[in-house]
Amino acid sequence: MSKIKILPEHIANKIAAGEVVERPASVVKELIENSIDAGADEIVITIKGGGKNLIQIIDNGSGMTQEDALLCVERHATSKISAWEDLEHVRSFGFRGEALASICSVADVDIKTRVKESDVAALLKIHAGKISEVTQEAGLAGTSITVKNLFYNVPARRNFLKTNNTEFRHIAGVMKKFAIAYPQIEFTLIHEDEKIFQLKKSDLPTRLEKIIGKDVMSYTLPVDKDQFGAHIKGYISKPSFSYKTHGEQFLFLNGRPITNRTASYAVFSAYGHSIPKGDKPFFILFLEWNPEEFDVNVHPTKAEVKFKDEQLLYRIVFHAVQDSMVTDALIPTMDNQASAETATLHLNDQSVLPFETQRRPVQFGQTAVAHEMVHSGHEESVVQFFSADEQKTQVQKQLVQRQPVNPSTLVWQLHNRYIVSQIKSGIAIIDQHVAHERILYERALDAFDHNPIFSQQLLFPQTIEFTPEDYAIVEHILPLMEKLGFVVKTFGKRTIVVEAVPADVRLGNEQKILLDMIQHYKDNENHDLDPRDSLAKSFSCKTAIKSGDPLTVDEMNGLIDQLFACKFPYVCPHGRPIIIQLTLDELDRRFMRIT
């Protein structure tokens, strides 16, 4: 007798279920996807007991014939693709035909569905993966799927689930993504018999105002770009609002919510490193791209997508985001709250947030806020609802309006470190090192693409020896180095001779600067993905005037002029502020002229 056995289908389904259905939120995700695939534009979700007791989704989509309904619970039953080639072009969420079968194997499921053409709806009752009852009754066109007793037959899973509130928070997170991606669909959420919200059909900005909040949206910049064969649109936070913790990041690929590290990094880089390392900008980006460029079929839940060319993805996102930021620049100020501490946007600060209660033994449905949301119909309440389901979004508030600094007035140097200048509204203090770093960083990027930096010939060419490892890097970036103005001859496998250096820069010790640059470049973990940016950073960091270098008045004025010719004059490539403004108002307050 052979040892290998074909698993009975219900067991196979149960195993597959483990991959697709992890927790109530995954059921909600699969069911919403099906409703959207079915062309619904009204979806009502009802949850009880964090989804452990009840998940019900009612849609006004196409519905199924009784015949199809009987099939849909079978594994690999799908109406969405029929041939392998179709996989290349799928635009629907589903295509694996796994979700319903999986859900049915771990819960009691009722499916009630009616196509427009039919007079009656079919009602299927499924228990333990088997259809136990098929009847007909009156019903609306569309589909209603009711999932009860989730994981009743998988105790390990069931025990693994978190509190009702936590599970509900995950469900809300799923809904938030769909609500953002599909403003043209009405979403209603009912929890423990209370209507939490009803998001009417609208356009994207209106939907975002409701979900993300007017406040946060007012600190964003629109993105809209057609390039490299892809269209990308959405919103990013202005550079001056960096999130102390992770900002929320939404990326939709052809309407499908995904997470992707390359894309996130591209956004971060596009800020010209105008936000501190470790901070996450807030963004909502919709990427429309030819399905042949990526594969969503790498994981049953399809949350991860494999791109054919990650570098291309990087460029698409990077350039779109960067372009939208060129138009905006914000100057930090020393206005009183912002100077000392991090201010939290008010969406978080006064109200009791529904999901913060999870640590206390209070049921969500009983909190005052939930009641208020439902009964007052207050617009902000949806924002409050959603703002709590992810980490807190703390916003570092800086000055909001751009103020041109007039450099023609007096300048002087403070401790060979800061340039102080009188401006219309008070005084500006400029950090000379980071200011020069910003100038050189942008100069370097420009040199790569457009205007190479001129080279000053050296009287005494400098010989530099590298380790074989470093030499490989030097060889690799040599073409870029030349654009920066370094004229270098290579000898053997270890040695270079520097014959000319960038004319823009007061270099001095070329050998040290070059070695430092290579080291800095190597230390930048991202030099593979974006060698230009890395090299520009290393170049600017190592060749900029240092804190402690004395400057003449002409040099200071030259520096200020060039700084304001930069795309981002206010933040250095590493995210430190370049200019701080001390307004007359602030001075007046401190001297108690005004209170």
């Binding site: 001129f454 050296l458 004319a503």
Partner: protein, 370 residues
């Protein structure tokens, strides 16, 4: 200590030493000037430990002794007194008293015991040269030194004695200036290379009278100029082999009117990039075209000058500031610039050399990206 001195004599002596007093120092006594009266002379000394200067004037010494006094306040006082005899004395508490006509001034000083002693220069060799010539040589080289602390050797001027030649050389790695002179007395047999910091040299260059004798020691150098001595620490660095990089086969020669050329550069460079000051020189048989363009600003300046040019046409880029500072050190009406190609050094010389002297400057070009 007590002596009588005229205001004019004292003021002149103070001016000589005051510039050596360091503006910032961790050793407060260096902010003072040392005064010692003895044998009919008053010695004034200032030092920053690297460079020291001492000058003496004859005074009427009533009581010999010494004191150090805050240099700034003392100098201000003396400068503003009328030119009359002053009676200057110190008491046991190191108070300095200045008495004259109507005034009576008291200044807190300190004991001269705490003041650092002047270095002893163990004489390896002495060289005597006309003070005016030395001053000129310093002036025409020291402008080319580097200010980069990472290349200490280049922050000073190289004094090189080679047989019958005294050479002064300065370079910052982008340009070089060299002055050679052959009329001097010296007991130096071998060749000798010493790098002297510019701060000391700017004091030496102030002297224009008589003969200066240069005493080369192991670690220090001393310039004896009549009543004044300047001491300086020598920079213990290796000077780069500058001779190797001076080209000898520059076959293209431009001769131009010095002032006309310098003025043209001055005007055109207004339109150059404010950082690189880059200008382009285009030379053909009869003329020179100087162009500057600031790509960011869209500004452009051009001048066409009549010059003499021997050799094939040439386009070469320069930092106008480097060129102008070289031209400003040419005293002859005409200047010659010798070129080879767009990436090799240009050599600038006066149209004719002064007797016993040879002046030359070298400027490295900026590559033109085309």
């Amino acid at each position: 200590m007590k002596f009588i001195v005229t205001q004019a004599d004292l003021s002149k002596a103070l001016v000589k030493v005051i510039s050596v007093v360091p503006t910032k120092t961790t050793l407060p006594v260096l902010g003072n000037i040392l005064m010692t009266a003895k044998d009919g002379f008053l010695n004034l000394t200032a030092t920053d430990l690297d460079v020291s200067i001492m000058t003496k004037i004859s005074v009427d010494v009533k009581e010999p002794g010494g004191i150090t006094v805050p240099s700034k306040q003392f100098n201000e006082l003396v400068k503003n007194l009328p030119n009359i005899p002053l009676e200057i004395s110190s008491d046991a508490q190191y108070k300095l008293l200045v008495k004259c006509d109507k005034g009576d001034y008291r200044l807190s000083g300190e004991t001269d015991d705490d003041y650092p002693a002047l270095p002893v220069v163990d004489e390896k060799g002495i060289l005597k040269i006309d003070a005016k010539v030395l001053s000129r040589m310093i002036g025409k080289t020291s402008f080319s030194v580097s200010s980069d602390p990472l290349r200490p050797a280049l922050t000073g001027v190289l004094f090189q004695v080679m047989g019958s030649e005294l050479r002064l050389v300065a370079t910052d790695g982008h340009r070089l200036a060299k002055m050679t002179y052959t009329k001097f007395e010296s007991n130096i047999k071998d060749t000798l290379n010493v790098i002297v910091p510019t701060k000391a040299l700017s004091e030496v260059a102030k002297e224009n009278k008589d003969v200066t004798s240069i005493n080369f020691g192991q670690n220090h150098i001393r310039f004896d100029m009549g009543d004044t001595q300047v001491y300086s620490r020598i920079l213990e660095e290796t000077y780069p082999d500058y001779e190797r990089v001076i080209p000898s086969n520059n076959d293209k020669k431009m001769t131009a009117e010095t002032h006309m050329l310098a003025d043209a550069f001055k005007r055109v460079s207004i339109f150059a990039n404010p950082i690189t000051h880059q200008v382009r020189m285009g030379m053909s048989k009869k003329d020179l075209t100087i162009t500057a363009e600031d790509m960011d600003g869209g500004n452009k300046g051009t001048e066409k000058l009549k010059v003499e040019f021997e050799g094939d046409d040439l386009q070469i880029g320069y930092n106008a500031h480097l060129l102008m500072s070289a031209l400003n050190n040419i005293d002859t009406d005409e200047v010659q610039v010798h070129f080879k190609g767009p990436t090799s050094a240009g050599i600038i010389t006066p149209s004719h050399q002064v007797e016993n002297e040879h002046q030359m400057m070298l400027v490295m070009p900026v590559r033109l990206n085309d």
